[in-house]
Symmetry: D2
Subunit: 312 residues, 4 copies
């Protein structure tokens, strides 16, 4: 990483990001997501020596959406043998959109290509060990409290209800997986999806994402406490899959342009990992055609170029 | 139609049909369907001058399964403007299996290719006009009582329960259609599928199918009463779609080999229409790889060749 | 067929057809095809008792394009055991466009779905028995001379050259089939395609198509001479496949709307078969989105409705 | 990288690799590739301080096959603006096999998903700037002479002829791309493919691949001479695409299991990049179902784990 005035650099990122907001659109397939301030934009760095840098138009939070898929996948890996997880969800990049059902039917084993498309995240959720569905969610919350280093986690109830009432594509994905044995016969699809939708509705700030990213950048260990939150090998798997699959069907381009493990969500957030260096959280609600924050990617591009922190 | 001793011919059909039973398999994806006598085989003709001819190993009934899709589609056409029906379900043959979801995603308008794949039949069911879901089913029963010329219609409850508990692919199809607006936002998928599964579980005999076929062969008019049960134009549409789409992805081959409008079901029944001539019902539970009764098709092939009644 | 003043009816067909020309577009993917008079429109009937009726804006000819696929398929069937033909080309309707390559890769046996998509017609051409490629073409010409009842057949050289220089999709289809063993290892793709392109470039009039249709309507026998030009069983197969596959991915709709065996070409021509009744040739160069003559289909629709000659 | 006795480690890699050879199959779709010693196995490291370590059953060379796609892509990037390259070939991972044509038709822009599937490599070849086709090949050779640090490069003539005579899938890909404008109208497909097949037939050793890998690991600069062979930004792009797309549809799993930029070929070779550390060449001809050297991957897995050199 080049020596550079980080405060100034973040202002430059912000300024470049603002320029492209107009080219994106706020997610509308979950109606409630439309009710955000399109001008919101922020970036936050959390370094492994616990320094923080940030820039934003104002303080704001956003629903994690697909960013939470990292947590669901990590829990699935923590609760099961790797082979069992890989028998239910692949780690293959997909050139199809995140909510596509085609590959579930066309591939021989009918398993979701990877844990970061919707089908794969639903499969991950089903693999989280708990006595009941509420128990699964409690574990999501408990892990996020550690990763965000916070005492409580909030849900955007309106977003949750909105996702739930418009989540028929996800229902189709879940029932299809159930019909093919990826989800168990006993799985209660509505209950399972309820946990999934609730997880997607968890509120986060760019600071939260940067701390989550810092754990991933530190081999699963919290820089602020030294606690091994995610086992090292699982941390590595998660970062590998983030690199090949984290930005939906834009992951290949992102590797070329930014070159770091990352995971985006249609709420506008992106978490990004600079190994042995820092975690980065960005957010801005206007999305490109792939469903990624358009200003978020631009800020990461500028940051990666200026600091020369691509892993490639 | 060639002059021929029909009794003798039907015995020949039966004998040829029996030879191929061993090459087929009884449907197993609905568990209850497995519990049938694989050796069952029958053929029944009902001519437009109300003569009947039949041959079989013994008396038996079977669940209509996809044969009922004719009735669901006819009701959809009777209850709606043609354009409205065609906006929700196409009339395109499909080279994909009957329960495929791929084309729902890949086609631009996301509507089922035709009313005789599962998605299309579910869409047809949603188009039947009634105050509530039970009302839809009452209309199916009422139409079948006329077409079968019977006072009561029975359901195979075990099959119904079996379909319902294993119908997750159909749930996936229905939720996907709901997510794309083919089914209305207000549609209750479980209620709708319940009517669909119940319709598939209706019991019929080869005689029942031959009478249904005789109505279709007679421009929608019952040969036994003269009643116009299905409007003439709708009858024509149904027969056209049976010809291009009635035997799933085997429809093209069937046109070459048999050459008549027909509709098969995984319960083993096939209804076949010889225009201005007669209706034909065949049944035998062992299926070929497309889901069609293997002996049923063989009997229809022999019959069509010997009587020279292909429409082509 | 209803008694009706046919001359008057054909004028009505023409008038209805003219109204929809503006909604279509002349084919542009073969550049030379653009150089036609978009206002050309004609219909010609040839009855089995050798009466003729016609209406048109003026005399014109057009390249047969896909209409010639009937002849290529008939020759393939005349020169090979049916099973051999069916091992190289299916008889399954396709919901994909006529020049699609997707199904060649995705289906298990990699054979073209049917003889009326481009890949299938190329496979048919390869099955025509002859000492060399010119010999294949001579047989196409010889059969067409009989079907058109003419002493010579002409090619539109400009169209041929245009097809050849822009035929890279067809080259892709042919090489793909060769790679999968549908075409033999020894097949010379350029030579084979040259015969195929030349066949597509054969010039015809609506009268020619009506006579070809009359043979098909008469079980393969020329009404004018009594000669059995196409064997009866092959004639039946060809008509069956025309019904399920003749209008590309519009075949299902055409069965509902017109209801007769037919084959269209992007040159604007359509041949249509009214069994035991007459052959029909229509032509008009503006095409709908499926590649079928938009006015041609409209004329056939009016004709079929007024004469009540749908086979369904 | 852990301190470890590298000689011993390579012997362990070799020994683990040998165990899995029996589970793979030598490529047979290019007939000449079958004529190799299935027991061949080797690994070679070339560090950035110019130390070398190796282990193998015997000295052997192999045709580069898809490993050469790195060079074709690098040349395309060196000879064109990045945007021009990206308009002809994407950088998206593909879940389809390396010779699949489906996505070329199904994606909106019809461009190959990435430069490491066959279609993408053919498109890369067409982008190499030269006066004629021989000139393109001369540039491939010239670049490889630098990357391998050798004075001459050899071709396996038998493999070249074998590829050429059985390359019909590649012809299909090329003509399809030409039909969609990815290749220019003026492109001579046979000439272009000849260069492509010749490039695939270039012979290499594991030492050659390790030196190529060392250049990539050193930001494009030869460790032995300090020459900047590949511009730094292009080197970074190539390594990014190797990570997401280098092992065909196994790239996602490889990232999880090995975690380094790599590129495999059906000749059995794999080049692998440990940034700022070393280049790695492995080879063994038996392939897994994805077309990757089964023992090669196993050796890289052991090496990566023991040295802890995954980038994730």
């Amino acid at each position: 990483m080049k020596k550079i005035d980080l405060e100034l650099l973040l202002e430059e990122c912000l300024s470049e990001g603002k320029k492209v907001i107009k080219d994106g659109n706020v997610a509308d397939y979950i109606p409630e997501l439309k009710n955000v301030n399109k001008e919101n934009i922020g970036i936050h760095l959390y370094t492994l020596d616990n320094e923080e840098y940030s820039a934003s138009n104002e303080e704001f939070t956003f629903s994690m959406q697909s960013v939470v898929k990292i947590v669901l996948f990590a829990l699935a890996l923590m609760d099961n043998e790797l082979d069992r997880v890989l028998s239910k969800v692949g780690v293959k990049p997909s050139a199809d959109p995140f909510n596509s059902i085609v590959k579930l039917e066309e591939t021989e084993d009918h398993k979701p290509l990877n844990p970061f498309i919707n089908a794969g995240a639903i499969a991950s959720t089903s693999l989280i060990a708990a006595d009941d569905y509420q128990g699964k969610f409690d574990r999501v919350i408990a892990l996020l409290e550690k990763l965000f280093d916070r005492e409580s986690i909030e849900i955007d109830e309106k977003v949750f209800i909105s996702e739930s009432t418009t989540g028929d594509t996800n229902r189709a994905l879940a029932y299809f997986m159930k019909s093919r044995g990826i989800l168990d016969k006993e799985e209660d699809v509505e209950e399972l999806l309820s946990i999934y939708f609730k997880s997607c509705s968890i509120l986060a700030s760019t600071r939260d994402l940067s701390k989550l990213g810092a754990v991933l950048a530190n081999k699963g260990k919290a820089p602020w406490s030294g606690e091994q939150i995610i086992p090292e090998r699982i941390n590595q798997i998660v970062c590998a899959v983030m690199t090949t699959c984290g930005l939906y069907d834009y992951s290949g381009e992102f590797a070329v342009i930014v070159g770091m493990p990352a995971k985006s969500g249609v709420g506008g957030g992106i978490v990004c990992v600079s190994h042995n260096n820092m975690g980065i959280g960005v957010s801005s609600p206007a999305l490109d055609s792939h469903g990624n924050s358009i200003a978020g990617i631009e800020m990461l591009r500028v940051l990666s170029n200026k600091l020369d922190i691509s892993i490639f």
